[in-house]
């Protein structure tokens, strides 16, 4: 309903948009390994900086399916953007075996007096942006640990790690593989993993409702292909690392040591989304009221 020609039933390749981050890696892997092809899908993957940049592209028909974090997608839906969750992409929470160092961690300076997440109460913390997924995750984790996240002073910075190192903030959160790089340098200390998505779903594949309705079959096939691709990389770390190295233009040796998220293999349910809506609602993400989880899951 938005933008110029929403070419919803385009005959060309399926246009996917992902982050150039570890979350987007399975899409590339699936493409390379022929998973999409197997499902009769011809895809073209582009990258974007953040979820925020993908929504207008979805609405304008420049992109058919986009990989968004749950926070952004729910906020958009709350504002009336008619989105449909097609498939889960990344599971939230703290994966097994990553209790010390996970996919996303909170960092402080090596000699910082801050010893636990709860200690962040009343401190200054850097985030890429306020009211975003990392922000919610950090607040959730601090509160869970017994602190009071409402007293934290948040500072926005395009490069929060630099802000931390130069002493402008007391702590920051950062995703992999940046954490692994920092761990090697040793100036900073990981305080512990954040509970991404509050334990619910962290990243999802999204389409506009118009597109999903008009291309039911394609979308269904895509959802299956995604789950298949996710399973593939969950099981084949070597493939994951190799693809990540290509996508991020990073050193494979570095990524070898990095903590990867767990990619979603199960179909998305209304309960999953309901959980996320509740979780986000705690942090006042929805100015116009929370979106309806049942309507979001489709098609």
């Amino acid at each position: 309903s938005d933008g110029s020609g929403s070419d919803t039933s385009a005959d060309g390749p399926l246009k996917l948009a992902v982050f150039a981050s570890l979350n987007g890696v399975p899409a590339f892997a699936a493409d390379e390994e022929g998973v999409f092809e197997k499902h009769d899908l011809d895809v073209k993957i582009s990258t974007a900086k953040t979820s925020t940049e993908m929504v207008p592209q979805l609405l304008g028909g420049k992109v058919d399916l986009a990989l968004l974090d749950t926070a952004t997608s729910l906020v958009a839906a709350g504002q009336g953007v008619d989105l449909v969750y097609v498939a889960g992409a990344t599971d939230g929470g703290i994966p097994k075996g990553q209790e010390e160092f996970s996919f996303a961690n909170v960092w402080v300076k090596k000699d910082s007096p801050v010893k636990s997440l709860a200690d962040l109460t009343g401190k200054t913390v850097g985030v890429p942006q306020i009211k975003s997924a990392p922000w919610v995750d950090l607040r959730g984790s601090v509160d869970e640990a017994g602190g009071d996240s409402s007293s934290i002073k948040f500072i926005e910075s395009p490069d929060p790690l630099a802000a931390l190192k130069s002493g402008q903030v007391d702590a920051t959160t950062t995703p992999e593989p940046v954490g692994t790089v920092e761990r090697a340098k040793g100036d900073l200390r990981p305080l512990g993993p954040v509970n991404s998505g509050g334990g619910g779903i962290a990243y999802v594949w999204v389409a506009t409702r118009d597109f999903a309705e008009a291309n039911k079959e394609t979308v269904k096939a895509f959802a299956e292909a995604v789950r298949e691709g996710n399973a593939l990389v969950n099981d084949d770390r070597e493939l994951l690392v190799r693809t990540a190295a290509e996508v991020l233009d990073a050193d494979a040796g570095l990524l070898e040591k990095a903590a990867f998220p767990v990619y979603a293999e199960k179909p998305l349910t209304t309960e999953d989304v309901d959980f996320s809506v509740e979780y986000m609602n705690k942090y006042d993400l929805f100015e116009k009221g929370a979106p309806d989880a049942a309507k979001l899951v489709g098609p």
Binding site: T47, E53, G60, D159, A162, P177
Partner: protein, 275 residues
């Protein structure tokens, strides 16, 4: 007649106060050296805490990157976008600037719109452009257009006021054709202002090309810069930023050389000759 034009430039009718040849190079290198020393001290001092790369470290990274084809193709992509966008901005900006500079009615009628439009930054309009153009090169071109067109419009419209009233009268008295008026009277009078506009616009074009790649995720220097930042590779990120700045520098030196060629007769360039 074009033959005679370059002759005085060649025979040294240039600004005498600028030292020539080796002397000039030495001066420039000296200035750059000073800057490098400041940078080095900064990197070791206040910058040390946040891994600010030192010149030697950056230089090593730069050498490594320069060995890869990708580095150069990314530069080519960004420069191409920037130049295309700049051309677009000139194509739009020059006529508009001329019109509002020359026509009081046009100026007044559009003033509110132009003042309004030029204060709304392109990045504030990013979602709308993404909606309309997607993360393509078109996005870069549009972002460049809506940023770089303003300096050209403004400088051009001011330039119109610089046409000497006496020469205008000569033009009218001798019935110069429209083309001759433009080519031999209006354009030369306006060059000094318009050139500065072009130089500002050229830099903006490059910056916006890189921003659009950075934000929209299409290929080019901006994209690899984003990649480097996403894996916290400060050194590489710095080299990419500096590459962008050096491209801006080179682009502008081209313009300055061009300016000296076109404006050799101008008091700012020529030597002596008060009369």
């Amino acid at each position: 007649m074009t033959g005679t034009k370059t002759a005085p430039a060649a025979t040294g009718a240039r600004s005498g106060a600028v030292p020539t040849g080796v002397r000039r190079l030495v001066n420039r290198l000296l200035a750059i050296l000073v800057a490098l020393v400041v940078w080095h001290l900064f990197a070791l001092g206040p910058g040390a805490s946040s891994d600010f790369p030192t010149p030697p470290a950056s230089f090593r990274t730069a050498v490594d990157l320069a060995g890869t084809g990708a580095y150069w193709s990314n530069i080519a992509t960004s420069v191409e976008t920037a130049l295309l966008g700049l051309a677009l901005a000139v194509l739009v900006g020059l006529p508009v600037g001329l019109l509002i500079g020359a026509n009081e009615h046009a100026r007044r009628s559009t003033q509110l719109l132009l003042d309004f439009g030029r204060t709304v930054p392109a990045i504030a309009l990013l979602p709308l452009f993404l909606l309309l153009f997607g993360a393509t090169r078109d996005l870069g071109l549009v972002l460049i257009l809506v940023s770089a067109v303003w300096p050209i419009i403004i400088q051009t419209s001011y330039a119109v006021g610089e046409i000497s009233p006496q020469l205008r009268r000569v033009g009218r008295a001798y019935h110069l054709t429209r083309w001759h008026l433009l080519r031999h009277l209006i354009a030369p009078s306006m060059f000094p202002f318009v050139f500065v506009g072009l130089r500002i616009a050229a830099t903006l074009s490059l910056l916006m090309a890189i921003s659009s790649e950075f934000l929209g995720g299409s290929d080019g220097l901006g994209y690899v810069l984003l990649q480097a930042m996403q894996i916290n590779d400060t050194e590489r990120a710095f080299v990419y930023s500096f590459t962008a700045a050096i491209l801006g520098l080179l682009l502008n030196l081209v313009f300055v050389l061009l300016q000296r060629r076109v404006l050799w007769w101008h008091p700012s360039v020529r030597k002596g000759g008060a009369a």
